[in-house]
Symmetry: C2
Subunit: 307 residues, 2 copies
């Protein structure tokens, strides 16, 4: 079974959407990546940090889902990273209400021995130096390194970001961030420029408008599944990335053709994530549902033109 | 050969984009629909009105492209409809600088005898009563009526719009307009509500984010082809509609499955339209280029998952 290492946050979220609001619930990029990847037959380990206030039941739930949490450091005297946000009516934009870094502030990821030879590494949205420190710890060069980042790091740590970009294969960012990083408005041109910075593959996440995969071999587009109700978009991007990595790990095939399938699976899993608050939908998700939704994606996108 | 009747504007446009600006050039919804549909083997007639200032050379160009212009009334003492607009840097939004309705103000479309039995009718974005008057003139009930409209008519003539919606099969509108017409934010729910108003098919145009086709049989999504340069988006929506209708007319098949192909062809032709100012790219477009781009659409969207 392929090993997948995911480094990211494990956190508390408090979320408000037009459909309701939550108290502190389980969140974090590492959590969503792990839960999504766990839907595939892979050996998934997450590396993160939490405080003494983090419930054991959450860690137990992850373990029950087949996620190895040995790399989740628990700082007993510290508090878990906390984020609170409020989504606007269109669900595409949100305001951050509270960000308490807490134990995340001095997070130094330590990769467990057993995962130093992981074939796929997913570097969640963290400081580029933190991301680089994970790669430094690998005993074997991974087959594929996927990196997520955001405008914040472009603003405050652009040089460090450029350094780590040279060491990775796939970058996942949203459309505005692709434009900021490249200085190009057209996403085609943006991706071309980002290729020259290192990543052979550029995945541009466009939320409800789907995701684009660019490589020198071509481009591929996966729509988001149009849904009657989007309940809570939190974690959708991380779920997408987790599904992408999980599928690639399971199939042990990192060709461009197989990456197309991987972003369809990413989109597939993300379409579930938004149906309920937090991790709830991902926790209860059955494999049969994923396969059924795959059929929906095929109906949505596949055509058969006989000219 | 199937007959396709398109009613819309034939106009002068003056356009400013980040790439440059034009003097008065040929534009109008009827023009773009006609040019797009002319790429298929169909008998296409357009119904419109122009003033004495409209150059014969434009009408000649349309005829050379196989478009019947007998239904384009020329009011010698009048002036042609003129629209001027300026696109913002993102090309998704624009400001209207000038709208001179001129001869369009009292436009009463007269369908030529030869097109009163058209199998497909495309009602361009005009007052709902004007659109209805075209249907009143048909001697045979068309196999398919496609209607384009916009928020302006929802604001000032909603009752008339509801009346004509009962008589049509396909409505094409953008996402904001679908939300306004239905009062639903989710496009899935919006389409469901619009079905109850009459149209069995709802095509939601999302510009650079592609187009969605909704019917009771399912939904289908066609992306816009990501392009390195979008030069001028004017007419892209009408070109999309013209490609959609032209393909349906050529294949004489209005099944949901074939409509999927039709929106791919619409997206295909629209991707050319935006590559140059005004109608220029559509005028010079060769069939071979359309077929080549169809392959690009397939590469962009088709996948082959073996679970």
């Amino acid at each position: 079974m392929s090993k997948l290492l995911a480094v990211g946050t494990v956190a508390f979220d408090a979320i408000e959407t037009p459909f309701g609001k939550t108290d502190k619930i389980l969140g974090g990029s590492g959590t969503f990546v792990g839960l999504a990847a766990s839907k595939f037959e892979v050996n998934i380990g997450i590396v993160s940090v939490v405080g003494g206030d983090f419930p054991q039941s959450y860690l137990d739930m992850m373990k029950e889902n087949g996620i190895n949490t040995d790399g989740v450091e628990i700082i007993k005297e510290g508090k878990t990273f906390f984020w609170s946000g409020k989504y606007h009516n269109d669900m595409n934009s949100r305001d951050t209400l509270i960000t308490e870094l807490n134990v995340l502030e001095h997070f130094k990821p330590i990769v467990p021995e057993a995962y130093k030879n992981s074939s796929i590494v997913m570097l969640g949205n963290l400081h580029p130096l933190t991301q680089a420190s994970v790669l430094d710890q690998m005993s074997v060069k991974p087959k594929l390194v996927v990196l997520d980042t955001m405008n914040f790091w472009m603003d405050i740590a652009l040089d460090d970001l450029h350094q780590v970009l040279k060491r990775i294969d796939v970058i996942t960012i949203n459309d505005d961030e692709a434009r900021q990083l490249s200085g190009e408005y057209s996403l085609v041109n943006a991706a071309k420029k980002i290729h020259t910075m290192g990543p052979k593959y550029v995945v541009i996440k466009k939320g409800e408008h789907g995701a684009l995969l660019f490589s020198e071999e071509g481009m591929f587009y996966a729509p988001a599944l149009p849904l009657a109700e989007v309940f809570d978009p939190t974690g959708a991007g991380d779920t997408f990335a987790g599904g992408f990595c999980g599928y690639l790990a399971k199939t042990e095939n990192i060709s461009f053709e197989n990456m197309k399938n991987a972003i369809i699976y990413g989109s597939n899993l993300a379409s579930f994530c938004v149906e309920k608050f937090g991790t709830q939908r991902m926790e209860e998700l059955k494999n049969g549902e994923v396969e059924e939704r795959l059929r929906a994606f095929k109906e949505l996108t596949q055509f058969d033109i006989v000219s």
